[in-house]
């Protein structure tokens, strides 16, 4: 009994912090979403009207499209490349350690700082165009952040560069749990490299893979800071993401109730995707 009480005592601080900083604000966001509220004056209860407007908002629809494009490309690339890089550096050598560190550095740096750096590189009169001009390649000079297509590509590339090392580390951790004997057994059975990867590596890194995929989806669906700093959602609305839209509706348009409704919908979407992935991936897990 005493042991049980002690356990509760240890859990209490985390429980209080999560309740005050997470659970209560989440419940309040649900409540706000049912009201018309500018964030300061009295609220007016409007039921599900904010939710109905979410599905009629074309600017939000555009943000959903941009978020989907960014998420799909980034999730695919960081997971495929992350696994590839992890396999390359999955050796205990000094060189591997250097590469691991180099790939991981962008994730450790402040997103705001790296966004400003990339912005100064990709601006029309920035480092990239200056270099191209200096190398006599003026024909390749482009308005990278000022046109819709290139701007969203730049956002995607920066996001891949920023998060790739993190996903490489997740895969590396998973790869290091694979017992060496299984590879040896596969060799004895006449298996080649591809057989080892398909029949040994892949099934055994499923838990790590599901964490990596899940984290990348959640991160990309919540993307804000890189977009805010590099393009401010522009040109026009061309690189606006859902979270950028939530912030604009809440702080620029004084529509806190409506922005809460978008947040709640995004919360449910991410929740549904997460449940789907966790369920599907856990079905494929095998024990070594």
């Amino acid at each position: 009994m005493k042991k049980k009480k002690m356990s509760f005592g240890f859990a209490a601080p985390a429980f209080v912090i999560y309740t005050v900083l997470l659970v209560i604000p989440i419940l309040m966001a649900f409540y706000f979403s049912l009201n018309k509220w500018n964030g300061f004056n009295e609220m007016t209860f409007i039921g599900l009207n904010n939710y109905l407007n979410v599905f009629k908002d074309s600017r939000l629809g555009n943000a959903v499209g941009n978020t989907a494009v960014i998420s799909i490309v980034v999730v695919l690339v960081v997971n495929v490349l992350g696994l590839g890089l992890a396999m390359l550096v999955n050796k205990a050598s000094a060189k591997s350690n250097i590469f691991r560190t180099v790939f991981f550095i962008p994730f450790v740096l402040s997103t705001v700082a790296i966004s400003f750096v990339w912005k100064s590189i990709l601006s029309y009169n920035g480092v990239l165009n200056s270099m191209l001009t200096a190398l006599g390649q003026s024909g390749l000079v482009g308005n990278w952040l000022g046109k819709q297509g290139p701007a969203i590509v730049c956002i995607i590339l920066v996001e891949i560069w920023r998060t790739l090392g993190y996903h490489m580390m997740l895969y590396l951790a998973a790869l290091q749990t694979v017992p060496q004997e299984l590879y040896e057994a596969c060799t004895v059975d006449g298996g080649n490299r591809w057989d080892k990867f398909r029949n040994v590596t892949l099934p055994l890194i499923i838990p790590g893979m599901s964490v990596s995929i899940l984290m990348s989806i959640i991160n990309e669906l919540r993307m804000y800071d890189v977009v805010k700093i590099m393009t401010d959602g522009g040109p026009g609305y061309d690189t606006e993401t859902v979270v950028y839209n939530i912030v604009s509706q809440g702080f620029s348009n004084n529509m806190v109730g409506y922005s809460s409704a978008i947040s709640v919908v995004l919360f449910l979407v991410i929740g549904a995707i997460s449940i789907f992935i966790v369920t599907k991936m856990s079905g494929k897990e095998v024990e070594a």
Binding site: P25, F30, E42, S123, Y124, K147, T231, S260, S274
Partner: protein, 449 residues
């Protein structure tokens, strides 16, 4: 296995929850209870309670917080001189500067308001004044300091004081390029187009503007110079009519102005990489000679005079309809309704605008601003600022549609929506459908107020 699945799901919910939590507030009592039993000033009263506690804790009842922003022209020194002078004359009152950082000052003040740390006095108060209960009513003796034409009312109450009048937008030009191409300052729209064409034909870039770095700097300069002037010449009560539903953004004047602007962009009159620049980068490129002209406000004139830079001239952008109309906006200060030392706050305002003209003069001179006081405060102007004012001598002055304060103010968020729309048009968006979206968004934001 099931346990592991549940743990994974629980962790996921926690991570995703962080996002929704951002839309909530830990001030549960302040936002929900007050909404139920009090009106208008519910949230601000809660903020006042918080502030009261802070004041008592610090034991300093005569401390004022003063929310400001700084630019290349309006520097920290300008504010500090103001504060130091006031504190010297009023040793019992301490003024602490609160600096709004970032480019969205409105969002900055709103965040401070939500967190209960809204400054006692804020500059650019007009952007928050449309919300009830944010600012205290200005005493009559303070109102009497100002030119009555510059005072404005919200629901019949004067809750802000006009801090300055600022002229917008004229066209700055590179004298050397004009001389090289034998160009004269244009006085009609056609002449202006010819100037642009001549510069373009000479292989140079006629115009510079900003882009995604500062969204206002793309379309606002041209819109203010041409759109506001054309609309207000034709429909003097545009704001009132728009607010009452008797007018629409989507009219032939708006479409004509924006179509002409898009034609200029399509003709290659604007710097190709403008859309990726911030305002400062654009201004820097213009000064480096990357483009021959840049439409900008009077602050540019003050900056050039400050640098004693005589390489640039300025002319009033010829209006499309030929009207002699220019835009001048007033900016406003407000004293927070939650301020515990309102007398001290208004004393500070009286010090700046009534008792000490040197302080006000330095403030105005720094950014090429003009006084709003009943007794005009003037200062020695440099050659560019003098030319700027001479260009619009005897012109009609109107207030920018989107920042007009008072009863018919545009809803919060409309300006940023239009700025984004200008960028869409710049990048080839359909003018007609963009303008139609202005009406839809205006109504949506109005309904949300």
């Amino acid at each position: 296995m099931k346990k592991r699945k549940l743990t994974a799901l629980a962790l996921t919910v926690c991570m995703v929850g962080g996002m929704v939590a951002g839309c909530g507030s830990t001030d549960a009592k302040g936002t929900t209870d007050t909404a139920a039993d009090t009106k208008d000033t519910a949230a601000t009263e809660t903020a006042a309670e918080d502030k009261d506690t802070t004041d008592k804790a610090s034991g300093d009842a005569a401390t004022l917080t003063f929310g400001v922003f700084e630019t290349d022209n309006i520097t920290a020194e300008i504010w500090q001189n103001m504060i130091d002078g006031f504190e010297k004359e009023n040793p019992d009152i301490k003024v602490e500067k609160v600096l709004a950082t970032g480019d969205d000052r409105q969002a900055f003040w709103k965040t401070m308001l939500s967190s209960g740390s809204f400054p006692d006095i804020v500059v650019e108060a007009q952007k928050l004044a449309t919300m009830d209960g944010i600012f205290a009513e200005v005493p009559q003796d303070i109102q009497d300091l100002f030119d009555p034409a510059t005072l404005c009312q919200y629901d019949g109450k004067c809750i802000t004081v006009p801090s300055f009048r600022q002229y917008k937008m004229q066209c700055y030009y590179n004298k050397e390029i004009f001389k090289e191409l034998n160009l004269e300052e244009p006085t009609t729209w056609d002449e202006f187009q010819n100037v642009c064409k001549t510069i373009k034909d000479a292989g140079k870039t006629p115009l510079m503007c900003g882009g995604t770095g500062d969204i206002w700097a793309t379309g606002e300069p041209f819109w203010i110079a041409e759109g506001d002037t054309s609309l207000l010449s034709k429909y003097p009560d545009f704001n009132k009519d728009l607010s009452e539903g008797n007018q629409k953004w989507n009219n032939e004047t708006t479409v004509d102005v924006l179509t002409k602007w898009q034609d200029m962009v399509n003709a290659g009159y604007y710097y190709e990489g403008a859309m990726s620049l911030s305002y400062s980068q654009a201004a820097e490129e213009f000064k480096k000679g990357t483009a021959a002209m840049m439409i900008d406000g009077s602050w540019q004139a003050a900056g050039l005079d400050g640098e004693k830079n005589e390489d640039f001239g300025v002319f009033a952008v010829p209006t499309i309809d030929g009207s002699k109309t220019t835009v001048a906006d007033c900016s406003y200060w407000g004293v927070s309704e939650t301020c515990k030392n309102k007398d001290a706050a208004f004393k500070f305002i009286k010090y700046v605008y009534g008792d000490n003209t040197d302080v006000y003069k330095a403030y105005l001179q720094s950014d090429g601003l003009y006084s709003t006081t009943k007794e005009p405060v003037t200062y020695e102007q440099g050659p560019v600022t003098t030319k700027f004012i001479d260009n619009i001598k005897d012109w009609d002055t109107v207030q920018e549609i989107i920042v007009l304060p008072g009863e018919y103010a545009a809803p919060s968020g409309m300006q940023s929506f239009m700025d984004k729309s200008f960028q869409n048009i710049f990048n080839g968006g359909d003018v007609q459908s963009e303008v139609e979206s202005w009406d839809t968004e205006y109504q949506r934001l109005k309904d949300a107020e």
